[in-house]
Amino acid sequence: MEPLDETPQSDELYQQARRQEWRHALDTTSDRRAAGIPTDPTAIAAVPPAAPVTVAPAVPVLPIASQVPVSSVRRAHIADANDLALATRGLRVAFSGNEILHGVDINAPRGGVVALVGPSGCGKTTLLRSLNRLTELAPTAQIKGQVLLDGNDVYGAKVDLNLLRRRVGMVFQQPNPFPMSIFDNVAFAIREQARKRPTRGSLMPAVEQALQRAGLWDEIKDNLDRSALSLSGGQQQRLCIARTLAADPEVLLMDEPCSALDPRSTARIEELIVQLAGSLTVVIVTHNLAQARRIADYAAFLLNGDVIEQGFAEQVFETPTQQQTADFVAGIFG
């Protein structure tokens, strides 16, 4: 496999072909996707406008909804672009009074891959960590606004934080496998949810499935008892994905998951993300525009704590409506 990072960004055709390859690989695994319309960028214009935005019952009025481009394609693996798995409404985050996010509204349609892009320091990580309430681990953080998971505010009263974090899994920038065996890493979340101490045998199917989904099973199936720290960086990151998948999350948050990896491992993980889309919703932060183009269905461009533009990835990257987005996409800053 050629290292994808060496591909020029402008080589659109190559990327489209690439994307289609990956989507194909998923056809057998995702029934949602199989039922949908094939992904063909040339078909964008042909697709009829999406139905007027309707809001999932529990979701309050969506001020941002009208921004979802009506003319764009409905992705094959996304049943309904207006069915939002995760959304933020007026999200403000400040550290010691210094506001980092100034009222952010983000939409993550169910089953899609949403890329958060923007120059370094614009608040992407902060936004992502606010989605599963990790931001509040910093004692100086103040958070206002809503984060809606299936329409319910995760900052609301009586939210079970630990359940929330299992439903909204997270993969970090630095691979962070625990200092235990590979098996124990993957079984971690299952053991965490179990009332009684599960036996190894009873855990094995779930562990295998998670490793399969993360595309790591074949490489390490004979070494499950090896220390996870002995794996290569790319393997460690896929192990972390497997570890998160084992908790069976609905949403997967990824914070520049490839920034510490070599191109080959990066390609491997991108492939994985595309395969996972559909069966869960992925929100991925990336500073790598080429990567965002390759994998994202939706994109949001952040600048200094504001969402400048969001919508279907093609639209944001190819025909941005805002000058700042155009400059960013053109590589003028960032």
């Binding site: 970090f172 625990f178 200092p179 971690f188 965490e192 949810q193 720290l229 570890r243 998160t244 908790a247």
Partner: protein, 344 residues
């Protein structure tokens, strides 16, 4: 140009020895020699401790062989007394069966570890992960204070407060009278010595465990939290696993401290070299002990007697070897901890 070649390379980069030696001027060479000599001195000191104490204690081992570590027909305290005064006929008494003191050390140290280890680990988790920052900032120096408290103060607390309370409230006089034929039981006892040691080593272990927990990389802690762990589960499943080597190191140092503690144990142990008898049920806990280190202090008036002197130094040898082994063990454990934390 020459000034550039004279610049010693920065320390982060190891200069090759030849060029460093060439470039260092005279003042530097003297300076380096001086600090090397001082470093060598610490080595010489610890080696001399081993040699001198061993040489002085050797006669005791030579006379008793393996029997030194066993129990004998003559009570240990009587043996130590005789080794000072000599036999009635004027010949010297060289027998020593130190098992009662060894047993005292094992019982008090083991008991103290059993009590203090869980308390220390839980306190460390509390301070490092559970307590609000203000509470932790307030309590940490207080625990440090406990670690810095002179041991004689713990001994005093034991002998003036806990001891009398135990003998007044926990030991019926009927039992005391009944057991008095075998051994006097009372406040100062194996239990009291154990409690005192536990209180002394708990802050030491707490400090080591807390530091280790605070050094667990944030990415592991956040990883656990992102998988749905609350702070307690995170500490239990990830942090405690990660600091396992520090647990070994801390426990080793604590055992060393307990084994070597002389004064507080001498005050709290009851002052009789007796092996508490588990057959006596609950009264086991109220029987006296005189562990190894306490024995040295208690007989310190007798260093003029050659045989007793050799016996006490032999105890010193055992203390040295035990604590040195524990120290090396702790060192190996922390080295593996460093590798573990750095290896990812």
């Amino acid at each position: 140009m020459s000034s550039i070649t004279n610049v010693p390379p920065p320390l982060g980069i190891r200069p090759d020895r030849a060029s460093a030696a060439k470039s260092a001027n005279r003042q530097d060479r003297i300076f380096i020699l001086a600090i090397q000599l001082v470093a060598l001195l610490t080595l010489v000191v610890i080696a001399s401790v081993a040699i001198f104490v061993f040489v002085a204690g050797w006669p005791s081992f030579r006379e008793n062989g393996f029997g030194w570590f066993t129990s004998g027909p003559v009570p240990l305290d009587q043996q130590l007394g005789l080794s000072f005064t000599g036999n009635p006929d004027g010949s010297s008494y060289t027998k020593l069966n130190a098992w009662p003191a060894i047993a005292g050390t094992i019982l008090t140290t083991g008991g103290a570890l059993l009590i203090a280890f869980p308390i220390s680990l839980l306190t460390a988790i509390f301070l490092a992960e559970l307590a609000p920052k203000r509470v932790a900032d307030f309590l940490s120096p207080i625990v440090t204070m406990l670690a810095a408290t002179p041991s004689v103060i713990f001994g005093l607390f034991a002998i003036l407060v806990l001891g009398p309370w135990i003998s007044e409230h926990l030991i019926p006089s009927s039992v005391a009278n009944e057991l008095a034929i075998i051994v006097p039981i009372g406040g100062p006892s194996v239990l009291l010595a154990t409690i005192v040691l536990a209180v002394m080593i708990a802050p030491l272990m707490t400090a080591i465990f807390t530091d280790a927990l605070r050094a667990v990389p944030t990415r592991w802690k956040e990883g656990a939290i992102a998988l749905g762990c609350d702070p307690w589960r995170m500490s239990r499943r990830v942090s405690v696993t990660a600091i396992r080597p520090a647990l070994v190191a801390g426990a080793s140092l604590a055992i060393g401290r307990a084994v070597g503690e002389a004064i507080a144990v001498s005050m709290a142990g009851g002052g009789i070299a007796f092996v508490p008898n588990p057959m006596d049920g609950i009264w086991f806990f109220f029987q006296p002990v005189r562990p190894l280190a306490a024995t040295v202090v208690d007989y310190s008036e007798g260093f003029d007697g050659d045989v007793l002197r050799a016996n006490l130094f032999a105890i010193g040898v055992v203390l040295f070897i035990t604590t040195a082994a524990l120290t090396i063990g702790a060192k190996i454990a922390s080295a593996s901890a460093a590798k573990r934390l750095g290896g990812s």
